[in-house]
Symmetry: C2
Subunit: 603 residues, 2 copies
């Protein structure tokens, strides 16, 4: 039986960085060669980064992607890496479609290429385009309609390898069905599949199911790293044709996952090339045979943790997503350091800790901005955090500045929402001023419970470039903080977060004696309701039937719907759930629909 | 030959306001009856407003829409309006589709219904779903696959009327093709087609072409009014089967367009019901016959301006779009008044004038916020504008507040970008503080040239709820200002905008003697380049080939691409071009691609 050594290169590409991403492909192909691999698989659109959004519609970018792909093939050949079959995603276009209303300009393709012998041997494109959740691919791409199958020689005979792309696995019919008809022994699948809490298990089940349907081993290589709101978690998977797990990559880390795979020898194939894809379309099988090559000798030892890397547990996984998203947003935007306001509360404490884990404590600047309503513990807890972590701290009292506004604004109220917002905005201006002068990225510290209900100040605490915990409900903020401290304790290190910040009752401290529970229910109650309303899209009748308090349902729906404008103005942050108030759950700002109103109208 | 009196009701619906929109349908059907109409046509999704965005995915909202439709039918019957055939858009769902990956939750439909005799007689749904520009309909809807044809009796025999929806006209094949096969004499088309400069001519040409293809008269009824960034302009159209223009509604105004239409008598029809739609799909014709009814006597006189309303010229049309968008954004969000910063420059002068025209001068509050760098003409020009229009003005000097920040921020630079931004942010905080205390909507005054190049301050001049001129290039700002003054002069009124604000060189006045031309080319040069780069998506090579200065191309591309984050944080404003930096031209914030870099890399 032929044996194939395959490498899955789960790398961190950057959107638009054609030079850097080309370098990644060459460098990791070198590493795969040093491990004796005959095939190396890269993620979806690794050459351009993912998602490229409207760049797909710029002819000059598409041309640049195609030119870069050929450059990479040339370089691989010139470096003596032409014997390895390289499968990598890039951006291409269909040249044979005339423009028509509704078709993306230039007919772009979410494409994959097989590079071998210093040449681009065969290309194809994603057949099933996702257009839900974070995906808008009907805006950007036209579907592919071919399944490439390349034949590669091994010591014990040739093997046939088919290529599909990401969503092609998630939808019924299409390339997986045609792979079975084509009789390929291995299906390789470049992916750019963003992290969501709990999604890893879904992916493994999917790979197992599709491998069985395709009658082929299945190699699933995913991107890692943050790109704006998205965080790719890697977690690449290799399963046998019978669904046995053979290899699995680490989460949130670049890695080369190398495995020897027993595959059926390729034999005579059906001459059929146009195949009914069981999804209402016809797919054309394109077969190519690669020139025979010796298996390269391995000069580097296998990875000790592989080929099945240990899994992170639930909280570790979420925390890693937040750290990864924060690190890459800063670095990919050219920031080496961050700045954030420290209040002594748990949200800013966790945000500072994530930032320190992401880019190093020396690069985390914190600002303490006490006001007349700041309690003593606010200051001491914030100072405790600074000492525990060795952050760069400075204190800027805000009272004199607030007073200067009050003096110029005759009759401005000294209490109530306008006065509370003013304090928050003075802090926002200070953060931005320090950032403008010092070049740090401003981090916001709002959590998802606040974002959902609108408990934040526009241009105040919501001013900044990135919000590490914007998709984290308050109850999860506490869990992650406790977990992070426990991790430190287990290693004999100082827990980074002051226990008092975790245990004390939360307060915005914008008015004397203010507590969150003055205006919101306990977070356990609130978060459960938000989860049902926001993530599960339940209506008010369903929410009440699920046991939520009817008066609270009415109130929270009103708060959430009213806060739409604020949420749109909030900075991006790492997405860890299905609905992070990014592209999902987008309501018209001027919408008048409220479950509350409808119930009244109907009843 | 049968004659039919048809009314097109181009009304202003509000997203989510099921009660208010139901009332609109009943009220305007009453008006149509008073004009003796036998058929009244409403816009697309008039019952729910358009676009509903993620509300389409909420089961409770879909159910509420269906229930409201039946309530409207009941009310029309109960009010004695059952003899008029009412065609109106609403939100429905397909009940027969099982959930699957990629399908919008609940299988929602962008639907239309024919109401008659107090009942919902037949329903259908949009077949061609747009998923480009401002449209994301593959996220929200599944396509319809029927063409309803209803037979209505007239004095000289029955007529057959088919229903298609909006995008069904724009794409080839589908309902228009099937209408021809069905032999209908009239095709009625509810629309929600947003305004774009110059689009009106395109629409008329389209209606003429499709009427000829369908072999039927064509009635196109469009929404009017603002909904977030979109502005619907009405401009409803009625053409004969040969393409002759019979009626055309006003722009940006609610109106009932009533016409008598000669139609072929309906005769025997082909029994064929499942028809190849020439677009790869099959559409089912659903025929219904409405109960015979007397033509109602007209009790109200025809509109003096109709049925072919006069057209606005180019600048009048753009100005009307800005006024309409501003008025409806304020009202639909529950604001009766607005507040904005007045600098003495042309941008804030035009913004104030638009606001006064939109919601009345008494409801426009302006704030003069002089700093140490404000020139004398800034103050006098701003005061001149206040006097010309009688706006509610107050002055809040900012220097003492800026000094209070400087005092608390040791070593903060007294000049340069951080110091300039600080002044702008202090003004932003003052606007927001006054708004919080007084309940006005804050208007921003940035123009599209600034937005494109990033010449604005986050949380400073960009702080607010709505930006009336965010889609207006600076050169067009001047044109509109001059035009608005000329309109006033023609009517013997005081020109609202100080001539000095129009003629003086533009300056941000954030540093001594600063002029826009210190850091930007003349706006005639800049705007032409921005139009080619942003609207036309030209690459750098194309831009240079088109005659733009190569160094300027490099510089402007860098500025525009860098400003992506700022633009995303900018408030919404009326969309008047194809690419208003809303959903179009959306780049990943962390993208590293620059035409400039690629050119260097390539050679």
């Amino acid at each position: 039986m032929p044996q194939l050594r395959i490498a899955l290169a789960q790398v961190n590409a950057t959107v638009g960085d054609l030079d850097g991403n080309s370098e990644l492909i060459v460098e990791w192909t070198r590493r795969a060669a040093a491990r004796g691999a005959q095939v190396v698989l890269f993620p979806e659109m690794v050459l351009t980064g993912y998602p490229v959004e409207d760049l797909a519609l710029r002819a000059s970018f598409v041309e640049a992607s195609i030119a870069a792909l050929h450059d990479v093939a040339d370089r691989l050949g010139a470096e003596g890496l032409g014997d390895i079959a390289v499968v990598a995603g890039y951006l291409d276009r269909r040249a044979d479609l005339a423009p028509r209303t509704g078709m993306p300009a230039g007919a772009p393709l979410d494409a994959a290429a097989v590079l071998h012998g210093g040449r681009v041997v065969v290309t194809s494109a994603k057949h099933h385009l996702p257009n839900y959740g974070v995906f808008d691919e009907f805006r950007y791409f036209v579907p592919g309609n071919t399944l490439p199958v390349f034949r590669l020689g091994t010591e014990n005979g040739p093997v046939d390898i088919a290529v599909a792309i990401c969503e092609d696995l998630w939808q019924e019919g299409g390339p997986v069905a045609v792979c079975y008809r084509a009789g390929a022994g291995l299906l390789v699948v470049p992916n750019a599949s963003p992290y969501e809490r709990g999604k890893a298990d879904v992916r493994l089940d999917l790979c197992v199911r599709r491998a069985r349907e395709a009658g082929a081993a299945l190699a699933y290589c995913n991107m890692i790293g943050g790109q704006d709101e998205l965080v790719f978690d890697g977690d690449s998977i290799l399963v046998s044709a019978s669904g046995e797990l053979l290899a699995r990559g680490p989460q949130f880390e670049e890695a080369l996952i190398v495995t020897d795979l027993d595959l059926p020898a390729a034999g005579d194939v059906s001459p059929e090339t146009r195949v009914d894809a069981d999804d209402g379309t016809v797919i054309t099988i394109e077969r190519v045979t690669l020139a025979a090559a010796e298996r390269p000798p391995a000069t580097e030892a296998p990875d000790k943790l592989g080929p099945v890397w240990p899994r992170l547990d639930d909280l570790a996984e979420v925390y890693a997503a937040l750290v990864t998203g924060t690190r890459d947003y800063a670095y990919k935007n050219g920031f080496k350091s961050v700045i954030l306001a420290l209040s002594g509360g748990i949200d800013s404490a966790l945000t500072a800790t994530i930032a320190a884990d992401a880019i190093g404590r020396d690069n985390v600047h914190v600002v303490l901005m006490p006001s007349r309503w700041s309690s003593e513990h606010s200051v001491t807890d914030a100072e405790d955090l600074v000492l525990r972590q060795g952050l760069r701290a400075r204190t800027v009292p805000i009272q004199a500045i607030v007073d200067s506004f009050d003096k110029e604004l005759d009759d401005f109220p000294q209490a109530g929402l306008p006065a509370e917002n003013l304090q928050s905005r003075v802090r926002g201006v200070i953060n931005m001023a320090l950032s403008n002068a010092g070049g740090q990225l401003v981090l916001t510290t709002g959590n998802k419970s606040e974002l959902a209900t609108g408990y934040s100040t526009l241009y105040g605490d919501s001013a900044g470039g990135f919000g590490p915990i914007k998709d984290v409900f308050k109850t999860l903020v506490w869990q992650l903080s406790t977990w992070r401290n426990e991790q430190a304790e287990r290693l004999g290190l100082t827990p980074p977060i002051p226990p008092n910040s975790i245990s004390k009752p939360p307060s915005a401290e914008l008015a004397p004696g203010q507590l969150d529970t003055d205006s919101l229910p306990p977070y356990e109650v609130l978060d459960a309701l938000l989860d049902d309303y926001v993530e599960k899209d339940m209506g008010s009748a369903e929410l009440i039937a699920a046991g939520h308090d009817p008066a609270l349902v009415t109130r929270v729906i009103r708060l959430v719907d009213k806060a739409e404008y604020k949420r749109r103005q909030y900075p991006p942050g790492p997405k860890i759930t299905q609905k992070n108030f990014g592209r999902d759950r987008r309501l018209p700002i001027t919408s008048r629909w409220r479950e509350r109103l409808y119930r009244r109208g109907a009843g």
